[in-house]
Symmetry: C2
Subunit: 392 residues, 2 copies
Amino acid sequence: MNDFVFQNTTKVYFGKNQLGHLGEELSRFGRNVLLAYGGGSIKRIGLYDKVMAELAKAGMTVFELPGVEPNPRHTTVNKGAAICKKEGVDVVLAVGGGSTIDACKAIAATAKYDGDDSWDLVSGKASVSESLPLVAILTLAATGSEMDGGCVISNVETNEKNGYFPPDANPRASFLDPQNTFTVSAYQTASGSADIMSHIFDVAYFSRKDQMDMLLRVQEEVLKTVVKYAPVAVKDGSNYEARANLMWASSWALNGFLYEGFIQDTVCHSMEHELSAFYNITHGHGLAILTPRWLSYVLDENTAPRIKRFGENVLGIDPSLPLMEGAKAAIAALEKFFFETLGLKSRLSDLGIDDSKFAVMAKKACSFTGGKLDSFTVIQPNDVEAIYRMCL
Amino acid sequence: MNDFVFQNTTKVYFGKNQLGHLGEELSRFGRNVLLAYGGGSIKRIGLYDKVMAELAKAGMTVFELPGVEPNPRHTTVNKGAAICKKEGVDVVLAVGGGSTIDACKAIAATAKYDGDDSWDLVSGKASVSESLPLVAILTLAATGSEMDGGCVISNVETNEKNGYFPPDANPRASFLDPQNTFTVSAYQTASGSADIMSHIFDVAYFSRKDQMDMLLRVQEEVLKTVVKYAPVAVKDGSNYEARANLMWASSWALNGFLYEGFIQDTVCHSMEHELSAFYNITHGHGLAILTPRWLSYVLDENTAPRIKRFGENVLGIDPSLPLMEGAKAAIAALEKFFFETLGLKSRLSDLGIDDSKFAVMAKKACSFTGGKLDSFTVIQPNDVEAIYRMCL
């Protein structure tokens, strides 16, 4: 069992009637707000108008950054930071999914940077000691960015996608209204659900280290929550109960509640970041394709007990099966869940990806963590390449 | 499902080698610290010396308040607050269990009060707008005070025991080293474990309101954690795994992770507070005696499904039993757990309590919440009196 430090300061407003608190949460930081959002879905669902009404009520001056893209780019971050500097923005408001919130974390830091290029910060070439305060309104249950301090930013010029932890980057407040996810497509719901599960898998559940029993069991309950409610939300987008459970599960999966600190490399996330850096695919879909193949690749006498336990406790696999058979049944059930129940396509080739860049992506996937990925097992670039091939 | 607001700002240092961070956590607030503790067990286990060494290293000036009693008294709070005012204390350090931490929350508030008597604040006659910052080192897994903002203070002159939520009272940092609970007696371990379970029962689990499925399931996992590890710790006080699971469970039970806000009266806590106000018994033991009798009293067609589910999911009761039979088996299993497995005496009469004050206690138990206790069912003073009688 590890020693660990836990703190999560984000204030969460959860539910249907919370947006009335937006003004008080923003105006404590000043009057000038940068409002960032994505492709315009927040206008289609009427959220934009509601937010603007609250901002007007609070007497805020609004500067807008529309068009934050999926796998958000450092050039978009640069644009947002330039607005913050020029207009004297006091607080950043992200309205969207993980991409918008991630971009805003980098914007909030770059606004405090003497230079113009956020990639200096994201790549670790430079640093800042503080960020602008950030408030988030979540519209997609997936990344957990609404309640953590990290972001992932892409540089399309260099095909790089880096994780970055700006100073004090947790949203000061996050508004989680499940109704704001009612119109999320079946595909994005499925992909987001795979992302939630992968956070639990990657950060802690599939580990060769001992963990506190209580936390391991709670991880399983949150995983079971996704397994239960993702198919409901895929079929019936307006099911409040399903959307609420998925939304709070997305936050729990990465807000530190479930872990004794962060203790290992996030292996599937590292492999997937290269796929979306090179091919701009949907992150959660990439994770769904990779995870069961990774589990098959690392399956051996040492890893089988945890994989078998996962199958039994989360997916209802018969506990009386022998060890290796039970573990294989668990992996097969996970594939069935992602590729049949949730309807995600199962192959990288379905996403237009071939093997031409596997070698370079595999090397880069390991490059942030000393040339290997150390979690459930230790794997190296040749292993990553083999796993990519299993996904073709 | 309720709308709710979640925020818990306490920074938790969990594990064996964290005390080195004590100086940095205290010295950010100033140099003068009030060190409060209980009957001296922290000296017997060597913790006092370790704390003093860290305080010396950080250059802190230490003022001491020893002798904080179980069911801490407002007169003790007054003493601590007087020291804070006289010596210009910058930060309060509680080293102990829930009683010491609770007393320190009231001390930290009273230190900012113009008057001398903390009961003015605890009774709601006066208020303050801020508290001194508080840091805690926990030595007993029970009350959850290490990660919440409430305290319970007793007035022995008037036989009153009141809950109080001072402003900004969550500990800024809490140090949770399971080793500091190795010498907690079997009796206090059992009583503390009943307190942990009762927080989950009272605040959310036994409720007639709908709850988020994920949270209900996680409540069950934390309850199962106590059921699994309390007997281990009762038998083998130095079992790190058991002590660690119980310690983190105690925080989780009251830190807001498990709940959609606080949605109902805490029925067994309200009934028990009168018992310990009048008879100074151990809070957790009182809860263990009350809880199964309360469940029997409120058992009907409406409450039976949740009680039966509790039995199945937490205590391993056969799910194929008919509804009422399953619920009764669950209550019997909870009695067996408290009174046989954990070895707690099962009757108020075992604690020297007779029925002479039941009527006045029953009335007071309901007096903070409009003359009734509204949670799983609504009960009134005559019901409370009947439940007390079932416990004789």
